[in-house]
């Protein structure tokens, strides 16, 4: 048992160390700008444009269900018109960035790990290295940058759609007064909530790309190795996002209180 714990802990710490080294390499590579626009734009297209459907459906239905649930509770204390204010703050600072990141982690994190993992098992990464190309420059940096550009944009989309669909449900389905509903939402949802959401999504974009790339580049041999790397990329990225979200919320809300 001790041996198992030591092995597991050892592997976990080694993994953390390797991701840290890969992140350092990626930052160094960014400073010398070895990325080609073609690669970057393709990755933005793949991560941003191709994730539209999942993000739009997630944003819209999260906004709708949140509006309905909040209304049913607030209606008991006659606070119906505060419904959209709760939806606005929740969507901007928590649900928008977190759910978008989780959906993108499932789609993009898995795709990144599978693609790079397949390249590894078919010696394409070794071929890159023999062609005097650092795998981090060519594989990691474009995906990292693209993910950190695309995720905040997707998050904004998800927030806008979540609040809009919440408004439609609140006004047309639940019969809340639209003027007060909108006024309260604007009164209690500040710029700072949106800024917190955007900072979070920028960080999650980095997590998704780094975990996906790391799992792909270190995957085991054969189809089983690629399959395992793909699963682990999604699981580890999702867990990291949820854990990071807690600490980011504490820190960012505290900073926000100091600034206001």
């Amino acid at each position: 048992m001790n041996f198992l714990a030591r092995t597991w802990l050892g592997e976990w710490l080694t993994g953390l160390g390797r991701i840290a080294v890969m992140s350092r390499d990626a930052v160094l590579s960014l400073l010398t700008w070895k990325v080609t626009w073609k690669d970057l734009l393709y990755q933005i297209y793949f991560i941003g444009i191709k994730s539209q459907s999942v993000v739009l459906v997630t944003g819209a239905f999260t906004g709708m269900v949140l509006t309905a649930q909040t209304y049913f509770q607030f209606h008991k204390v006659k606070m119906d018109t505060a419904t959209l204010a709760v939806v606005g703050v929740s969507m901007c600072s928590e649900l928008g960035p977190v759910l978008t990141a989780l959906m993108v982690a499932g789609r993009v994190g898995a795709a990144i790990a599978a693609e790079i993992g397949t390249m590894r098992v078919t010696e394409q990464i070794d071929a890159l290295r023999t062609l005097a190309t650092h795998p981090v420059d060519y594989l990691v940096v474009p995906r990292l940058l693209a993910s950190q550009i695309a995720l905040p944009l997707l998050t904004v989309e998800s927030i806008v759609l979540g609040i809009s669909s919440g408004y439609v449900v609140g006004v047309h389905l639940l019969g809340i007064d639209p003027t007060y509903l909108l006024d309260n939402m604007l009164k209690y949802t500040g710029n700072i909530d949106l800024e917190i959401g955007l900072i979070k999504s920028f960080v999650y974009g980095g997590i998704i790309a780094l975990v996906g790339c790391y799992k792909g580049m270190t995957c085991g041999m054969g189809a089983e190795g690629v399959g395992r790397a793909t699963t682990e990329a999604v699981v580890y990225a999702s867990i990291s996002i949820l854990i990071t979200n807690f600490f980011l919320t504490l820190v960012l809300q505290r900073v926000a209180l100091m600034l206001l």
């Binding site: 080609t36 010696e123 394409q124 290295r129 023999t130 190309t133």
Partner: protein, 248 residues
């Protein structure tokens, strides 16, 4: 010049190389032969820094590469070209994009010049007009030839071939051998070929090294090594299995 000194490598508890010494002069064509799973490809990957040894050194033009990090190795690898056993072509790219990969990244040439060089490289490997094909549309032999075109387009000083004829029919194998000799003589490169194809070894090598029991067991010019009376060398060259392996 490539020099290997007392190279040792283990994967976990399995010992692969146990004190390999090797010297390949510039312009020479060296062939490394040995049994399957004997560590030939592992040795080849050490020469270009794809693997790091547990101990021992690899020197390229007098420079020790074994202690270099990945970024320092990039400068050394510009001297090398490598043809992989499975070709290792980038499957998301066309043949043209594969062959032009390094030139595109170097940003030294205009697109027209890159296109011209790609066409010349594909002509050299007898694959003209295949620029727009994807690797999946090519046969095994064609893929290896595209791999060779990708390796020679930037005119490296050293070319490494990992089992270039394995899995190919005798006619395609012969054409690959001819290609290796043509590239060697035309570009005056140092070649290192890993193979267990004896006909290929005889044809392309100036010097043959036999890897046996994790060390270089025998070496010499092909005519000398192929005439050897050493029982282990003879057994490998003649392709005779041990009696215990003939159970059925």
């Amino acid at each position: 010049m490539i020099e290997v000194r007392q190279l040792k490598k283990n994967f976990g508890t399995q010992n692969i190389l146990d004190g390999v010494d090797l010297l390949i002069e510039s312009g020479q064509s060296a062939v490394i032969i040995g049994r399957s799973g004997g560590g030939k490809s592992v040795l080849l990957k050490h020469l270009i820094g794809l693997l790091q040894p547990d101990s021992g050194d690899v020197l390229v033009d007098g420079e020790v590469i074994t202690h270099m990090n990945e970024r320092q190795l990039l400068r050394i690898r510009e001297k090398f070209g490598m043809v992989f056993q499975g070709a290792a072509l980038f499957d998301s790219m066309t043949v043209e994009e594969n062959v032009a990969f390094l030139l595109e990244r170097q940003r030294k040439y205009s697109p027209a010049e890159i296109q011209r060089r790609v066409a010349v490289a594909l002509e050299v490997v007898d694959l003209p007009g295949t620029q727009k094909k994807k690797p999946a549309e090519l046969s095994g032999g064609m893929r290896k030839r595209v791999g060779l075109a990708r390796a020679i387009i930037y005119e490296p000083e050293i070319l490494l071939y990992d089992e270039p004829t394995t899995g190919l029919d005798p006619i395609v194998s012969d054409s690959i051998d001819q290609l290796i000799v043509r590239v060697r003589d035309h570009l005056k490169v140092t070649s290192v070929v890993v193979t267990h194809d004896m006909r290929s070894a005889r044809r392309v090598g100036h010097q043959v090294f036999m890897l046996h029991k994790k060390k270089i067991y025998a070496s010499g010019p092909p005519q000398e090594l192929f005439a050897s009376s050493d029982p282990i060398v003879r057994q490998f060259i003649d392709g005779v299995a041990d009696a215990k392996e003939n159970v059925f």
